[in-house]
C-alpha cells in the first residue's frame, strides 16, 4: 500500500513540473473568463452560455490532460527505461500500475478542482454585475451547487478515460495508445445508438451483437448531465450514484487488464 502511495506521489510531482497540465489549466481558465465576454453578445442567454462553456471547458481540457498524462505514465517510462530503476525495488508490478493510476486521478482532481474554482469565480462575478431583473430570468441560480454534480460526473468520466489510457499504454506505443484512447472516447459517446439498434434493424443476431457491444464498450453518454444542470432541471440521484459506481467498476476492469498485461511483459 505504501508503495502505491509513493508511486502516486511521484506521478503527482511529475505532473506539477510538467508544462502540459499547466497549459491546459491556463487555457481552460482563460476560456471561462472569455466566456463572460462572449455571453454579452447573446441577448439574454448569457448565463446559459457561461455555464455551458465552463462545463465544456472542464470536459475537454480535462480529457486532454487525462489522455496525454495517462499515455505518458507507462509508455514514456518503458521507452526511456527509467522503469528498470523502479521495478527492481521492492515494488510489485501491480503496485506500480495502481500507483500510477492513483497519481493521475489525484492530479486530475486537483486540476479540475482549480478549474471549478475559477468557474465559480466567473459565475460569482456575473451574479455580482447582473441586475435583479436579469437574475429573475435565470432558470437556475448562478452559484448553483448542483453544477458540482455535473463536475463530479465529469471527473468520474475522466477517471474512466484515464484507465483506458493506462490500459493501452501498457502494451502499445504512445502514439497508438493516444489514438486508441481517443477513439474509445468517441465510441463511448455514440454508444447509446447501439442500444437503439433494435428499433431500426430487424435481424436478431445484429441486434444481439449491438446490445453486447453497448454493454462492453465504455458507455460515456450517461455521464453527461450538463443540460439538466444548466437548465435547472432535476437530476435522478439513483442515476448519478449508479453511474459513479459504473465508473468505479469499469475502471477496475481496465486496471485489472492493465495489471495482467503488465505483469507478463518482458522489458528488454
Amino acid at each position: 500500500m505504501r508503495a502505491i502511495f509513493l508511486v502516486a506521489g511521484a506521478v503527482f510531482r511529475e505532473s506539477v513540473r510538467d508544462r502540459v497540465p499547466y497549459s491546459m489549466m491556463v487555457f481552460a481558465i482563460l476560456l471561462m473568463a472569455a466566456s463572460y465576454l462572449i455571453s454579452q453578445l447573446t441577448a439574454g442567454q448569457d448565463m446559459k452560455i457561461v455555464k455551458d462553456l465552463g462545463l465544456a471547458a472542464l470536459s475537454i481540457f480535462g480529457l486532454l490532460i487525462a489522455v496525454f498524462l495517462g499515455i505518458g505514465l507507462v509508455s514514456k517510462e518503458v521507452e526511456r527505461k527509467s522503469i528498470f530503476g523502479l521495478l527492481t525495488k521492492p515494488v510489485s508490478r501491480a503496485q506500480f500500475i495502481l500507483g500510477k493510476y492513483a497519481g493521475l486521478v489525484g492530479t486530475l482532481i486537483i486540476n479540475l478542482g482549480v478549474m471549478t474554482v475559477a468557474y465559480y469565480a466567473v459565475l460569482g462575478y456575473m451574479l455580482y454585475v447582473s441586475s435583479p431583473v436579469a437574475r429573475a430570468a435565470w432558470p437556475a441560480p448562478a452559484l448553483d451547487p448542483r453544477l458540482l454534480i455535473a463536475v463530479a460526473l465529469i471527473v468520474a468520466e475522466l477517471a474512466l478515460v484515464t484507465a483506458i489510457a493506462l490500459f493501452f499504454s501498457t502494451f502499445s506505443s504512445p502514439l497508438l495508445s493516444t489514438l486508441l484512447t481517443l477513439g474509445f472516447w468517441v465510441a463511448g459517446h455514440f454508444n447509446a445508438d447501439l442500444r437503439n439498434f433494435g428499433t431500426v434493424v430487424d435481424s436478431a443476431p445484429v441486434v444481439t451483437v449491438a446490445r453486447a457491444l453497448y454493454y462492453v464498450i465504455p458507455n460515456l453518454a450517461p455521464f453527461d448531465v450538463k443540460a439538466e444542470v444548466v437548465h435547472g432541471l432535476p437530476v435522478g440521484a439513483d442515476h448519478v450514484l449508479l453511474t459513479l459506481l459504473y465508473a468505479v467498476v469499469y475502471s477496475s476492469v481496465l486496471l485489472t487488464a492493465a495489471i495482467t498485461i503488465f505483469r507478463r511483459r518482458d522489458f528488454k
Binding site: 434493424v201 443540460a227 442515476h239 459504473y246 476492469v253 505483469r263
Partner: protein, 308 residues
C-alpha cells in the same frame, strides 16, 4: 533443492477471472441504471454543425468517412422515429442530416435516392415532404454527374406524391436523354401523361422498380403492388356489395353474410391474407388497419349511404 517455478512468467488466470466478474458487475450496474431516469436525450439530435461546408472543413479530409457516419445517423434517426410510439413524431432533422451527408460526399447515391424516399413518406411513417425530396434530388443532379436515376426519382415523386402527371412525364423524358438511361423511361413518360392516376400505370411504374438492386426499393415496390392488387380487389367487391344493398336495402352485417348471399367462394381477403375491413355504419371497404397494406395510397371509392 529446486524451487517451485516462481521465477517463470506469472499466471494470469486468477486476474482474468476477476476481470470477468467485474465486467459482469459493470453490465449489471448499467442494466439497473438504464431502467431508471435518463438524462435529457434531445428529440432531434443536436446537429452542432448545421453548415455543410463548415463540417467539411472540420472533417479534416475524412469527408467520406464522416459522410458515412452521418448517413448511419440519418438511417438510425429515420428508423427510430418510424418505429417509435406516440403521435408526435417530428422528422425535422431528417432533411438537414441528408443535406450534410450529401455535402460531405456529393456522390453518395444511396443518400439521395433512399433519402428522397424517406422524405416523401407521408406521416406518420415519414415527414411527408416531397418538396424536400425534389430539392435533395436536384442537388444530386447538380453534384453527381446528373445521373438518369435522379431524374427518374424526381418524376416518381411528382407522379406518386404530388400527382402532377404532366410534370412527372416531363422529368421522365429528361431522364431518358441522360447517358445509360433505361429504355423504358420514354414509354413510361407517355403512359404517365396519358393515363396518369390509373392503377394500371402505377402498376407499371412499380413493376419496374421490382428489378432494382436496392433491397429497400424492391420491398417498397412489392408493398405498393400488393396495395394496387388490394385496390383492384376492392373495385371488384364494390359492385357485389352494391347488389346486396340494392336488394336488401341495408348493409350486410358481416363478410360471412355477404359471402353466403352472393355465393362468394370465401370471405374476401387482401393479398396478405387479412380480411378486408367493411364499416357497416359509414359504408366503405378498405384494407384492415391490422394489415401491413394499410393505409392504401389513393382515395378509395366510397359507397353511397344506404337508403334510409
Amino acid at each position: 533443492m529446486s524451487a517451485t517455478a516462481t521465477s517463470a512468467r506469472p499466471q494470469s488466470a486468477p486476474l482474468i477471472a476477476l476481470m470477468a466478474v467485474l465486467m459482469a458487475a459493470s453490465i449489471g450496474v448499467q442494466v439497473v441504471r438504464d431502467r431508471g431516469w435518463q438524462p435529457y436525450q434531445p428529440e432531434n439530435p443536436t446537429l452542432w454543425v448545421e453548415s455543410g461546408p463548415l463540417l467539411q472543413r472540420l472533417s479534416l479530409g475524412l469527408d467520406s468517412l464522416v459522410a458515412d457516419i452521418y448517413w448511419i445517423r440519418s438511417v438510425v434517426y429515420y428508423g427510430g422515429k418510424r418505429r417509435a410510439e406516440g403521435a408526435n413524431r417530428s422528422y425535422e432533422s431528417l432533411y438537414p442530416l441528408l443535406n450534410l451527408v450529401t455535402t460531405l460526399d456529393p456522390h453518395f447515391r444511396i443518400a439521395y435516392r433512399f433519402g428522397s424516399l424517406f422524405l416523401t413518406e407521408p406521416p406518420p411513417a415519414g415527414p411527408g415532404r416531397p418538396d424536400q425530396a425534389v430539392q435533395l434530388l436536384t442537388r444530386g443532379i447538380e453534384r453527381d454527374f446528373g445521373r438518369w436515376e435522379y431524374f427518374y426519382d424526381i418524376g416518381f415523386v411528382y407522379y406518386w406524391s404530388l400527382r402532377d402527371y404532366p410534370k412527372a412525364a416531363e422529368w421522365f423524358l429528361k431522364g431518358a436523354d441522360r447517358p445509360w438511361a433505361a429504355e423504358w423511361l420514354r414509354p413510361l413518360a407517355a403512359t404517365a401523361l396519358a393515363t396518369g392516376g390509373e392503377r394500371a400505370t402505377s402498376r407499371r411504374l412499380w413493376t419496374e422498380l421490382l428489378n432494382s438492386d436496392m433491397s429497400f426499393m424492391k420491398s417498397q415496390a412489392e408493398l405498393r403492388l400488393m396495395q394496387l392488387d388490394a385496390m383492384d380487389a376492392i373495385a371488384e367487391l364494390t359492385p357485389v356489395l352494391q347488389r346486396f344493398i340494392d336488394r336488401e336495402r341495408r348493409f350486410p352485417r358481416s363478410w360471412q353474410e355477404l359471402a353466403d348471399v352472393e355465393r362468394l367462394p370465401k370471405v374476401p381477403t387482401d393479398p396478405t391474407g387479412i380480411p378486408f375491413y367493411f364499416d357497416s355504419k359509414v359504408g366503405y371497404i378498405d384494407v384492415s388497419p391490422k394489415s401491413s397494406l394499410w393505409p392504401l395510397p389513393l382515395n378509395v371509392r366510397q359507397l353511397p349511404p344506404p337508403p334510409s
